[in-house]
Amino acid sequence: MADTYQEIASSLYRGDASKVAELVREAIDKNLDVSEILSDGLMKGMDKVGQDFKTNVIYVPEVLAAARAMQTGMNLLRPFLVKGEVKGRGKYVIGTVAGDVHDIGKNLVKMLLEGAEFEVIDLGVDVAVEDFVNAVSEHSPKILGLSALLTTTQKSMLATIEGLEESGLRQSVKIMVGGAPITASYAEEIGADGFAPDASAAVDVAGNLVKWR
């Protein structure tokens, strides 16, 4: 059993989606505990992906391949996962701010957060302030993540935070920010709760924000 989970984790790490699918199907057929297949197989694999990405053992292509393998496994497990059975770490709404269409950083954060058991709601790119506000209102996430790649669009981060304040939602959610021009001091200046210099750090920051909530 432990071997099966280990094999799933290492196939996921290698980005071998078809092997992950084969092993997950086998595990399901053997009536192994579905939430264990998820946590000890898939999530374990993604955990190592996140760690090795952080330390530059692997890079974006390997992360994308592993995330694809994880999705393949997740899709097979999903029908068997009972709502509420898998606790997860909470909802995380993410998006690239208004005026900005860059998304690879945001996409990496999303993949790593899903690998760390967050339920990620991705609003996409060029997200208007009101759409962020509506999403926070609708999903009541634990964290809202904002991404911007341009110096000229980072001001949309402040506008988004102000929009949440005006709607009375600011206190209901932790906000973290990231992207090439974003610095820790800028995050502080605009009243964000967290900042991450890259996707790997984002997972750690998110984990800490959720702990203290």
Binding site: G15, A17, N56, I58, Y59, V60, P61, E62, L64, A65, R68, A98, G99, D100, V101, H102, D103, I104, G105, N107, V125, D126, L150, T151, T152, T153, A180, P181, T183, S185, Y186, P197, D198
Partner: protein, 341 residues
């Protein structure tokens, strides 16, 4: 020594009369705030930049067809989303190896492909360095396939990656040769390889996929008799040995926010390449005072200019959020503190 000689001397790693200054792109809102109504070439002349540059992204080098209010398609067949602030690719025409084999890239010989470059050559050749900025292999290829899918294919479909990189490299070589034959003195090759903390791909994958084609484009530029600059945003420390080994003349933009600390770069590579950039176009040029800017330029010159081989430039571009007075301060500081005694 005139501006062109100043730039060429620095690119050769020698000591000019003064540290030169150039910029790939200055947003019209910045230069027109300094001198209302002025054109880019007139601004270069009046304010005392040492190079006139033509950056393909803003030169209409590829025509675009409007799809709707928020999307356009360019001559590569790439779909771009358009916002007030920028355009970025969101979809590409190549998904499979079959798509790649059937794909026909834009014609490098099309009349509009060099934008204003011929006009700048006509006006400035011999006086200012004439710089043509294009790409080599990575980003045009990534746009053809969508960046996420392109990077994923490095692992799951490397044949497709190689095929697309070949198509793009062939285009880039032809375009670069054309620009130099038209009179460009310097070709800057864009393609951003890295985030602030690390490259997008491993050094091993860079070596396998990107480096061979990058080298070909650099060699074509050198072969035509021009200088070649490699630009990449981000933290490229782990790629620099390979990049410098190609024989490129200069590296740029050396972003401070990406740990490209100029004294460290100078120490390691300063005897082999000219350094261009490092003046932060984020907090420094957007928010700090002109005095802070002048101080930073002075400090940067003191670290990077000894022995020659340094050209002042921003850490990316002089974009629309840069305070015009700060850009003026950057230019003034270069003139004031950049003299080699």
């Amino acid at each position: 020594m005139n501006s062109a000689e100043r730039i060429f001397t620095a690119l050769q790693g020698d000591i000019p009369d003064r540290v030169p200054i150039l910029e790939w792109f200055v947003h019209p809102s910045v230069y027109q705030a300094l001198i209302p109504g002025i054109t880019w070439p007139d601004f270069v002349e009046q304010i005392g930049l040492d190079a006139i540059s033509s950056l393909f992204l803003f030169e209409g080098a590829f025509t675009e067809t409007k799809i709707d209010e928020k999307t356009v398609m360019n001559e590569w067949g790439v779909t771009l989303a358009v916002t007030e602030e920028h355009q970025a690719p969101i979809e590409g025409p190549i998904k499979t190896l079959e798509d790649a084999k059937r794909y026909i890239p834009p014609d490098p010989e099309a009349p509009h492909r060099l934008g204003h470059l011929p006009e700048y050559i006509q006006r400035f050749k011999g006086e200012k360095a004439v710089v043509w900025a294009q790409r080599a292999d990575f980003m045009w290829a990534a746009e053809l396939c969508r960046l996420d899918d392109f990077l994923l294919n490095f692992v799951i479909n490397p044949k497709l990656v190689h095929e697309v990189l070949e198509i793009v490299a062939e285009f880039s070589v032809a375009l670069a040769r054309r620009a130099v034959r038209a009179g460009a003195d310097v070709v800057m090759l864009g393609d951003d390889y890295a985030f602030n903390t690390a490259p997008l791909m491993s050094p091993a994958m860079f070596k396998e996929f990107i480096l061979p084609r990058l080298t070909r484009v650099i060699q074509a530029v050198k072969d035509e008799g021009a200088f070649c600059v490699k630009h990449s945003d981000g933290n490229v420390w782990s790629l620099l040995d390979m990049i410098v080994d190609t024989g490129v003349d200069a590296i740029n933009p050396l972003e401070p926010v990406a740990d490209m600390e100029i004294a460290a770069v100078k120490k390691k590579y300063g005897d082999r390449v000219c350094l261009i950039g490092n003046i932060d176009c984020g907090d420094l040029l957007c928010k700090a005072s002109p005095e802070d800017v002048m101080r930073t330029v002075k400090e940067t010159i003191s670290k990077a200019a000894p022995g020659g081989g340094y050209i002042v430039s921003s850490s990316n571009t002089i974009h629309s959020s840069v305070k015009p007075e700060n850009y003026r301060a950057m230019i003034e500081a270069t003139h004031r503190y950049g003299m080699y005694s």
